[in-house]
Amino acid sequence: MGYFTSRRGFLAGALSAGALAGLPGVAGAASAAQAEQLVQGLVGDVNTVIASGASEAAMIAEFERIFVRYGDMPYIAAYVMGADGRRATGAQKKAFTAAFQGYAARKYGKQFRKFIGSAINVSGTQKVKNAYQVATVAKLRGQSPFEVTFFVGEKSGRFYNMYVEGVNMLLTERTEIGAMLDLRRGDIDAMIADLRQAG
């Protein structure tokens, strides 16, 4: 309190408040804060589920809900389907998005479960073109910390990609979905049926 009542302190406070208020118009800094908030919320929800000690099936169902709440699902689904998405019917697209959600929750959820007793912390946000990169550091027991970077779309305000130690989730999953399609000789319905069992 004393800081703000002194004249110099008041001036500094007024300046920083002005800087904060002025930034949104210049560089969309309010969105940067929102992007960071989104990731904070996502990480917080994941940590809560991990700490709950629920069964694996219950945790995975929760992870899917979190994924849908924070993620830009149409974008992620369209990206991982790649060029094959263009020949998919409307029904196939919808079925694929739903199947992919569950698959991702199972696949990544199983890895998250090992994070019990760990902490994920946001370390910084950077704007690159029309996206925000929110860097986090995951500290696991008995392992050296590693970076997980979330990408949040400026327009959508949702996360659409993540990098784990530089490994790009969208690219990795596009490769996997492509391989699943190849196994089925390009049959989209068969691939979706496989995807429901995978992960």
Binding site: N168, E176, D182, D194
Partner: protein, 268 residues
């Protein structure tokens, strides 16, 4: 580029003076390897990877996969997994310590003097206080593990990544990394200090370290090797992304920026 290759060839006779056959072999590998580090055209595979030797690489992958499933032993805790943690840490720390002189040489070649001197200090501390490298006392002192190899040096010097390669037993690599591997093999400073049998201790330690790391990350590796539709393509994309990230290389297509608005998401 040709000047740099010439520079290498001039150095080879001195570096491997004790083994004329190996010297000739290293020379051939360097010439064919670096000349073969072709710059890719447009992305050759779906994920934009340059993989001109894919059929041969896939045969090596099938071989590696057989070894992997033989060693992982279906759910039962294997020999490596059952080792007590202090033993595992000792092997990993020892392997790191004996690799440090090589890291320092490479960081000097890369012009990274600060990191080279930090690693020199790390080596001195761990080799003495750390009981011949078995205990990592340097990390808590603010000198964390920071490894390098000649593959990274070639990257720093501007050589292209070249095609993707999968090596027997050692796994994913690129043409540039494979050349680096050979150069590192023939230029280990330890080999010039230690007599013949002892100098191979390093490779034993490295092999032990690899096996321990593979068992530590067993679940994640299992997910790729057994759980994916095409383990070759998954290992390829994941390894390339991770290696480019380690090197700080974001110049290659596929590892760059993905635009969150540049897709038609209608109907998804």
């Amino acid at each position: 580029m040709y000047i740099k290759i010439g520079f290498f060839l001039m150095r080879i006779p001195r570096l491997t003076a004790r083994a004329p056959v190996l010297r000739a072999f290293a020379g051939v590998v360097l010439i064919t390897g670096l000349a073969g580090c072709a710059t890719p055209g447009p992305g050759e595979t779906r994920d934009g990877v340059f993989d001109p030797q894919e059929p041969a690489n896939r045969r090596v992958h099938a071989f590696n996969k057989r070894i992997y499933s033989r060693l992982s032993g279906d759910g039962e805790p294997g020999f490596v997994e059952s080792l007590p943690n202090p033993v595992k840490n000792g092997v990993v720390n020892f392997s790191d310590t004996v690799a440090l002189p090589q890291t320092v040489v490479n960081q000097l070649l890369q012009g990274r003097l600060l990191r080279a001197s930090r690693n020199t200090l790390r080596f001195s501390v761990n080799a003495t206080l750390g009981v011949a490298g078995l205990i990592d006392v340097a990390s808590p002192m603010g000198l964390p593990e920071d490894r390098s190899n000649f593959g990274e040096t070639l990257y720093v010097w501007g050589f292209p990544e070249g095609g993707y390669m999968e090596l027997p037993v050692l796994g994913p690599s690129t043409e540039r990394e494979t050349v680096g591997l050979f150069v590192d093999f023939f230029t280990d400073p330890f080999a010039y200090v230690l007599p013949s049998p002892q100098r191979y201790v390093r490779y034993g330690a490295r092999l032990g370290e690899l096996m321990i790391k593979r068992s530590d990350y067993g679940d994640a590796i299992d997910a790729v090797m057994e759980g994916s539709a095409d383990s070759y393509a998954q290992a390829r994309v994941i390894w390339l992304e991770k290696r480019r990230h380690e090197l700080g290389d974001d110049s290659i297509e596929g590892s760059g920026f993905i635009d969150p608005e540049a897709l038609d998401t209608e109907g998804f």
